[in-house]
């Protein structure tokens, strides 16, 4: 496997960031224009950040899961880089959920936090994926790759639980799904699209970083003129 960082990713990265910024601006404009919700007032506008980041989190961890399986079958470091990058960006979005959720809950439910299924399971998810990064940082070379892929697979078991938690347990406070209609719904959809592009841009940047690290080592290899493969 070549370790050269594909050139085209540079262009793609720039394009993605440009698109993300543009779409975020559009969605911001729509958010400002969207009607204010009758009961909760202006705070309800958090939804346009809260729901997209929650969905993106789940998608990102799903990507980690898929890439982890791919790593264990192909043993190519690229998949490990994909898994780790997706997971790191995913954790950032999960943190956004963990911040926007309580902010909203403060005005919607009059408390920062409650031990309610969706919230509890999501907190578990957050801790576990933070643990993923700690483990990853503590290990070296191929052990790091194998162990983090295994974690990427094992931890995925929590995603369906988080998703289904609102249905499985009675007495959950958290809404089951999006209830908004009309202009608010459209605004949410646009925000959602914007956050996805934002995720893609961040993910690619992170992946390029990982790639560059690997390339550094490749350089060392070339300087000494040794043959051989770099994929572990």
């Amino acid at each position: 496997m070549s370790v050269d960082l594909p050139r085209w990713t540079t262009g793609l990265g720039r394009a993605l960031w440009a698109a993300a910024l543009l779409m975020l601006a559009v969605s911001l404009w729509m958010i400002l224009r969207a009607p204010v919700e009758a009961q909760m007032g202006i705070v309800q506008k958090i939804v346009y950040v809260h729901v997209p980041s929650a969905i993106v989190t789940l998608v990102a961890f799903g990507l980690t899961f898929a890439a982890s399986i791919a790593y264990l079958t192909t043993r190519s470091w690229v998949w490990d880089a994909v898994a780790a990058s997706a997971c790191e960006v995913g954790l950032a979005f999960a943190t956004v959920v963990m911040v926007t959720g309580p902010l909203w809950a403060r005005s919607a439910w009059n408390t920062w936090w409650t031990w309610e299924p969706r919230l509890t399971t999501f907190l578990i998810l957050w801790i576990l994926y933070a643990g993923y990064h700690v483990v990853r940082a503590s290990l070296h070379s191929s052990a790091r790759r194998t162990v983090s892929s295994i974690l990427g697979i094992v931890l995925f078991a929590n995603l369906p639980i988080v998703w289904k938690s609102v249905e499985w347990w009675r007495g959950s406070l958290h809404p089951r799904n999006v209830t908004m209609t009309g202009e608010m719904r459209e605004t949410l959809l646009v925000s959602m699209a914007a956050w996805f592009v934002f995720f893609a841009a961040a993910f690619l940047s992170r992946l390029r970083l990982e790639w560059a690290k690997e390339e550094d080592r490749g350089d060392t290899r070339v300087r000494h003129g040794a043959p051989g493969r770099v994929s572990a």
Binding site: T120, L128, T146
Partner: protein, 223 residues
């Protein structure tokens, strides 16, 4: 064969270290006390208080027990030597799991009477039921614990990391154990919380199945 040899070896190492076993038991007993002091007993709902305390104590004691098993493997390279014998990895995993089940089961049997007496719950009629839940809980704990312990091998701050990964993964199993035990003590039957029993069984099987696929990979993960 491999399975039994490994399980016996682990138990022998623990047994040799009588101080460890004694301390583990003392520790679990004092956990029950400290949790009772902190959170109760207010006897508003003794069955729930007792079962939460019981399982929380088992939980913390278990992490320390697992860490100890882990240290025994890595401190002078015994675990590497085990790998080099070419023994079947899944049999090694099952052997270690069995040893951990026995260790944790012992802790449970010790803490159970303390909690019963302290909170005045339970009777002989529900005892088989309680032991049944305990078996499900302990097997799940050991199965997940042995799996994660193998991953934490070679890491610094093992016990911390183990608890970070293990704690959250065990929450479903753990809530199930608390709910079922509570139901048994409060109303004498677990019919109302039958779903939680299913959750526990699924969790146990999931761990054992995942290990069948992943344990060899984990064991061979080297720098």
């Amino acid at each position: 064969m491999t399975l039994l040899t490994v399980a016996l070896k682990d138990l022998q190492l623990h047994a040799r270290d009588a101080r460890f076993v004694a301390t583990l038991f003392l520790f679990s007993a004092s956990l029950v006390l400290i949790l009772s002091v902190a959170f109760g007993p207010i006897f508003r709902n003794p069955a729930q208080e007792a079962s939460a305390t019981l399982w929380a104590a088992l939980f913390f004691a278990g992490v320390l027990g697992l860490t100890r098993s882990l240290d025994l493997e890595s401190e002078s390279g015994g675990g590497d030597a085990l790998r080099l014998t070419g023994a079947d990895p899944y049999a090694v995993y099952l052997g270690k799991t069995i040893a951990n089940v026995i260790l944790l089961g012992g802790v449970f049997l010790l803490v159970l009477p303390i909690a019963s007496v302290f909170f005045d719950v339970g009777n002989l009629k529900v005892l088989p039921g309680v032991l049944g839940v305990a078996a499900l809980g302990v097997i799940g704990y050991a199965a997940w614990g042995t799996l994660f312990a193998a991953m934490a091998r070679g890491l610094k701050a093992r016990e911390l990391l183990l608890s970070v990964l293990l704690f959250p993964s065990l929450v479903p199993l753990w809530i199930g154990a608390v709910k079922v035990t509570q139901a048994l003590w409060a109303v004498g039957t677990a019919d109302a919380v039958r779903d939680w029993i299913k959750v526990m069984v699924v969790s146990d099987i999931l761990a054992l199945a995942l290990a069948a696929f992943l344990y060899e990979l984990i064991q061979e993960a080297s720098e």
